[in-house]
Symmetry: C2
Subunit: 503 residues, 2 copies
């Protein structure tokens, strides 16, 4: 078989695998939107079947053989789409074949029970119920890292699942610098002379009108409703099902504007990435897939924050919002509104955090899960350690574990190494936006005129169209001239909050 | 491997196959409801992948070997769920393995092009464009029948795809008698002294209110919205996705009540059958599946016609309808309304036909497709033959082929042998309802009081819970004491229309 024939055969298999996983995505979307309640157990069985069918197809030794042949060929050389596909398929194949079936089953079984224990522990704010399960999960995660193999510390092996190629070494200094800057920023905000009136966005906002507004914004961003949808769900997400089919989901709070508005922009940002990936050409191959959770999050966060929480954006959209929500916004000024959507204050719960404190929540989790995995922190000591760090970073005392170390689902679900991608997304978004602002003509002016396609095209050209051709840090270097860096985000925040809070 | 072990292994494989097909069902439902328009080609590829994955899994020689082992064992003996599963799996396995791959591909390719040619021919009412494609399809259907093998005539092999075990010999006399009775009935109706005012149901009916009414009726019928849904689509259907998940779809006409109302009852009738099948116990096996299209249709037609177009039903629901649709029904009497929903008149289009003329449309198609397959009718002669039969049965001249032999999608799609199942459904529904009426206490009284669960329970006990344990004709004998029979339907119609039309 010639190299080209091997490549074609590999492409065919990967497309089949991806068709199965894309069917999984439809069923999963359906589960979170329209599935009748009684269908839940059956749905789990369907998803399990699709997942194991896809896994079996992809981990077939034939795939490994094809890859080995190709790695010896010219197709694996140089900076080409083909070589990127071979490189990333090898990476995925090795990871998927390295875990012993018994370990995978053990993880599935344990996390399923750990999740139940966690839910009960959180409800009763009683860490002791979760502690033994956390210990088991951490132990399994250590085994998982060992099965994968790693350089440096175990955490690298897990982080790679969500952020291919990233290592602790790459991120720890950036994260630590960011943390220190944020603690300082928070103190400045706390002491600032001006304080926004947050209550403006906590008034009645008709849900039907919120939906119209959210869709208008998504449309202006360039979200293509001919090949996409916006639906309602409990935990918003975006799913790129396949060619011509990208779906985003949001939720509406009748008494708060932010949830659905910024939630929709966030998911639409993910959606634009999915829509911009070259799926027509490469569906099933890494070249049609997003790079990492961090890069995905950089897209959603940029649209949510750098665009959606910017003053120029609202210079265009605020008059429309005022006409729609006359009772709540009729007598509010643009500056008051801009302040209200950018209100910052320390709070216990990550998912409700504002743009400035959000990363502190993440950094705390990153530091703790890394210590847990390395054995430097014992599961029993988690609440104490959490609370003392929280006090140091946020300046407030955690009142109970359900507002502290029990709030997140991730550890109980075996998602160790996932948290950092949120902050990576925020860092990259600031770096990319900074660069776009340099390269595009009067970006603020465009926003003021309601023009967002310029930014979308820039993102398409620089990021979306490349699929997994480059890994996150390399892509960042290609685009901005430097790798991961905390300064653009810090500069952006200091300027923005300085204006709003008057420091 | 013991017989029981073989049986367990076969059960396991069949469940996997069914999980794949049930995923197909979710994607297909999604395609007809919420999928973004641009996703259509990709969806076809997903469905093709799921379908070939399921087919490959089921036609694995291992399944044939397991069946052969089981057929030698005690599990295949007697009237038990196990023996029924073995019998019907063998039947399905043989059919699915008998068609050569090339023939299947040729059918797929040809019908895809034939469908396009048909759509254009119908639009332009020009049979000559479709004729060569009809010839090709009929030729392929003959090859298909030959590949299956058959006793008697080829048509039997195709009919069996939709109505397992049914043969032309079983149905031809019943169908011919029914046809003659219907022609006589139509003449009586035409000459009748009283004629209902059909315009009553052709007034404005608010779509939102139609939806509320349709859901109320489905709920009263026992359709379980905790494990089911009602959505909107272009061509209404019902899909039994799996355990706890049955979905029905309807469409609303703002200027006619019948479409959505009887459409919803029809699909809810299918839905009750799906909900009543013992899927919890036998999912994936024939014991959890419907017997045939004819039996499925008997359920939908019973709820639509014997229940939904009955006077006692409206004695309960008409006052509610009047309150909902005050402008259109406020000054209408129950008798006038009852007449309007039962208006009968010859018309060209099958899918718009009333209860009485509907079967004549089917019988004409059955006779013609049988003659085409046997070579007694040439494709070129289809329009002439259609029109002359139509004149004989309906008493009116077909004005153009788009109102005649070009109206239905079936032949272009290779669905030859499908049409009879509609009339089988109507015949069985009358036979079953007749029996239910004998066995249940004051069924009319129950309807008058808005009680429909008695009938649903009877259908569950007699039909739904048995899955494919018995074939259609045998089931009918077990329940009513006789096989397929035209008399109950004829008696029912003569009585009903005699009352309404005064003959």
């Amino acid at each position: 078989m010639s190299a080209q024939e091997s490549y074609n055969e590999l492409t065919r298999i990967c497309r089949e695998v991806a068709l199965i996983y894309s069917s999984y995505a439809v069923l999963s979307w359906d589960q979170h939107t329209y599935m009748p309640p009684a269908g839940i157990s059956f749905r789990a069985e369907q998803l399990g079947m699709l997942s194991s069918t896809g896994h079996k197809k992809f981990t077939d030794p034939k795939v490994g053989d094809l890859l080995s042949n190709l790695e010896q060929s010219d197709l694996a050389k140089g900076d080409t789409p083909e070589s990127a596909n071979i490189r990333e398929l090898r990476h995925a194949y090795d990871k998927q074949t390295k875990l012993p079936t018994e370990l995978v089953e053990e993880i599935t079984k344990t996390t399923s029970m750990a999740h139940e224990a966690w839910a009960k522990a959180r409800k009763e704010s009683d860490f002791s119920q979760f502690e033994p399960w956390l210990a088991k999960v951490i132990n399994l995660m250590q085994q998982k890292a060992d099965a994968y193999g790693f350089e440096g510390e175990r955490y690298n092996a897990l982080l790679d699942d969500y952020e291919t190629g990233a290592t602790v070494t790459d991120v720890e200094n950036v994260f630590a610098s960011l943390r220190d800057e944020l603690v300082t920023l928070l103190q400045k905000i706390k002491d600032a002379p001006k304080q926004p009136d947050k209550s403006i966005v906590e008034r009645p906002y008709d849900v039907k009108l919120q939906e119209i507004f959210g869709k208008s914004v998504a449309l202006a961003m360039g979200f293509d409703f001919d090949s996409g949808r916006l639906d309602i769900t409990t935990h918003p997400f975006c799913t790129g099902i396949g060619i011509g089919d990208t779906r985003i989901l949001t939720r509406y709070n009748p008494n708060r504007l932010n949830d659905a508005l910024f939630g929709t922009m966030h998911e639409a940002g993910h959606g634009l990435y999915e829509m911009g990936l070259p799926k027509d050409k490469y569906f099933g191959l890494p070249m049609s897939q997003s790079i990492s959770l961090g890069i995905h999050e950089s897209q959603s966060r940029m649209w949510e924050n750098q665009v959606g929480r910017s003053k120029p954006f609202w210079e265009y959209f605020f008059p429309q919002a005022q006409r729609l929500f006359r009772d709540s916004l009729g007598s509010v000024t643009l500056d008051e509104f801009y302040g209200a959507i950018n209100d910052v204050r320390p709070s216990y719960i990550r998912v409700e955090a504002d743009e400035a404190t959000y990363n502190l929540h993440i950094l705390l989790r990153f530091e703790m899960e890394r210590a847990l995995l390395n054995g430097d922190l014992k599961p029993a000591d988690v609440p104490g350690e959490w609370n003392s760090r929280f006090k140091k970073y946020f300046g407030i005392e955690v009142d109970k574990d359900s507002n502290g170390c029990l709030q997140d689902v991730h550890w109980s679900a075996g998602l160790v190494g996932y948290f950092p991608t949120y902050t990576l997304g925020n860092l990259y978004s600031a770096q990319f936006f900074n660069q776009a602002d340099k390269e595009l003509d009067d970006l603020e002016g465009q926003f003021r005129r309601g023009e967002y396609l310029g930014l979308r095209e820039w993102l398409r050209e620089k990021i979306h169209q490349h699929g997994q051709r480059y890994r996150a840090n390399d892509l960042c270097k290609r685009i901005t001239g430097s790798g991961l860096d905390h300064k653009p985000l810090v500069t952006y925040m200091n300027k923005k909050y300085g204006d709003i809070y008057g420091f």
